[in-house]
Amino acid sequence: MSDIAVKIENLSKLYHIGEAASGSLAETISGKFKKVFRTTARQNDPTEFWALKDVSFEIKRGEVVGVIGKNGAGKSTLLKILSRITEPTTGKIEINGRVGSLLEVGTGFHPELTGRENIYLNGAILGMARAEIKSKFDEIVDFSGIEKFIDTPVKRYSSGMYVRLAFSVAAHLEPEILIIDEVLAVGDAEFQKKSLGKMQDVAGHGRTVIFVSHNMSAVKKLCSKGIVLINGSLSYAGTSEEAANYYFSNNNALHLVSIKNRKDIKGDQSILVENIEILNNRNNPVGELIVGESCKIKFSFSLREEIQMEKLFFAIQIYDINEKLQTTIASDELGINFPDLAKNGQFVIEIDRLNLRAGDYYINYMISKKVSNATPHVIINHLQHAKAFHVMTSDFYNSGVLLRSAGYLQDARIYTER
């Protein structure tokens, strides 16, 4: 018996996007004619999209592997190919063992059928033989906790009961290789907790798990290995810790053009901002931060002429993607003066705990002379949309529930009183 669970070699998947993909007969025929009459082969056909490009890796038996990547990076396509829903365009995969995925919870459930009938139906769809379902039937019903309603059509179930039953069947498939797409589970905390629990359980029994997630802390906590997909290519493979760090530092999509090339800076720029960096809690420059973790924002500057230090004002404003002001951090509010600026120095904003929920944000900054409270500032250097960053969710309160996205994270407690 080989110790390789999954072996992927030069895997690529091409999608045809747009009308031609599943259009009518007439469109396809006219398309064929166009191809015939097109004299030169078109490079970079805009209707073609490589969801995966030349991906190769191996997963050993018993490994728990996290697949990391942004939306559209090819994670779902990879999962679809691994679970054999679709076939690759080129490349080869070898899978040793039964593959089960928690993406298919409730697939084929029919509302008119009873819970009992749906267990058999769903089990058969998942690839279980009737005898196998029969032997696990009691266990499945027990786990779901809906014994009383087992002979009621599932259309009369509450949505919670429905999910419990569906999950229960999927959880008893006992595959050698389990695929979990956590992205799909977001929004149902109960289900998410169960998925993760099941995953740890499965991994504990020496089986292979492939876990796709946006939640870096979960990947780090649960996985031993990690692979990073960027634009359909395998960008990094290593330990889950390394992979997560790699992903953070290379996720540059949200970075805007370099500040040196910006033409829309206001003020006389006697203080020239040369670079803005966002650092995570390990002091690595990143484009993504995690809710609740510490971070720093560093503005590297150089002085082009002498300025009056005691009246210097420095502030940033953080806006969300909808241009809504989220917060302001200003030197005068914090009672900070800048008695002595180096010729080449840095303004550092240190945040102990990032209270922004998951989402995309950007920073405006302002360096100015504040002559008095009543008069307008004299702008030295001011730029809007100077830097963008992304905040990722986490299980901040260790409750097993990922923080919901968007808005401000207000510290609070909830309790009851009588």
Binding site: G91, L103, E112, L121
Partner: protein, 271 residues
Amino acid sequence: MPKIIIDASTKGLNLNLKELYAYKDLLFTLAYRDLRVRYAQTVLGFLWAGLQPLATLVIFTLVFGRVAKVDTGSIPYPLFALAGMSAWTYFAFVMNQAGTSVIGARGMITKIYFPRLIIPLSKSIVGLVDFFVTFSFLLILMTYYGIWPTVNVVFFPFFLFLSLLSGLTVGIWLSALTVRFRDFQHIVSYISQLGIYLTPIAYPASLVPDHLRVLFFLNPMAGVIEGFRWSLIGTEAPDPLMFLSAGLMVVLFITGLYYFRKTEKTMADIV
């Protein structure tokens, strides 16, 4: 432990009947689901399956039997038409249901792997139940008229099988084509509407002029229906021309399986 190898560079198509057999439980479970769901919360239940062909039978008896006075020899017209109808209804059901089945199972196909052929195949089992409802009406009518099958009844299973094969052949081709070209969705209903008149259901094949016979018997159901009547109620034996279309069906069935397999590779992407 199963070992699966998917290699995009292999050109040959493998029907993989072994895997299909491994999923036989799914075949029956899906058929069971369809049957349970179709008549759920109805009072008449499976009787509905027989009522539709009976309604058509009444119309045929009035139009072809009474008005047009089609000559059916010694066989009473209602019996003559119902025998043809029972075979046709089964064929049309399998073709219709199998033809649209893959699109209908979109939710399953895009979420999980199983041999997709199971979907159209399961419809042939569902259709059998409907067939036996209509068939029992036929038996009742035979008893009523006191007409009993001859020794030729031993060939009946052959014609039933041929009707299943024809339905599945057309159904499998249509289902695979429909995934890619939705045009075929509309073609299905034309086939069943026109087919009922182009097939000798309401009239005997002997009424067809000689120069059109080859064309007429290219329709696989022409031979099947003549065969149904011959084996059950002792009408004329079907024209040997039927073996032409039977052979054609076998060829189309096998090529259909391969075409379906080919489409299967990207079915989830375009369905």
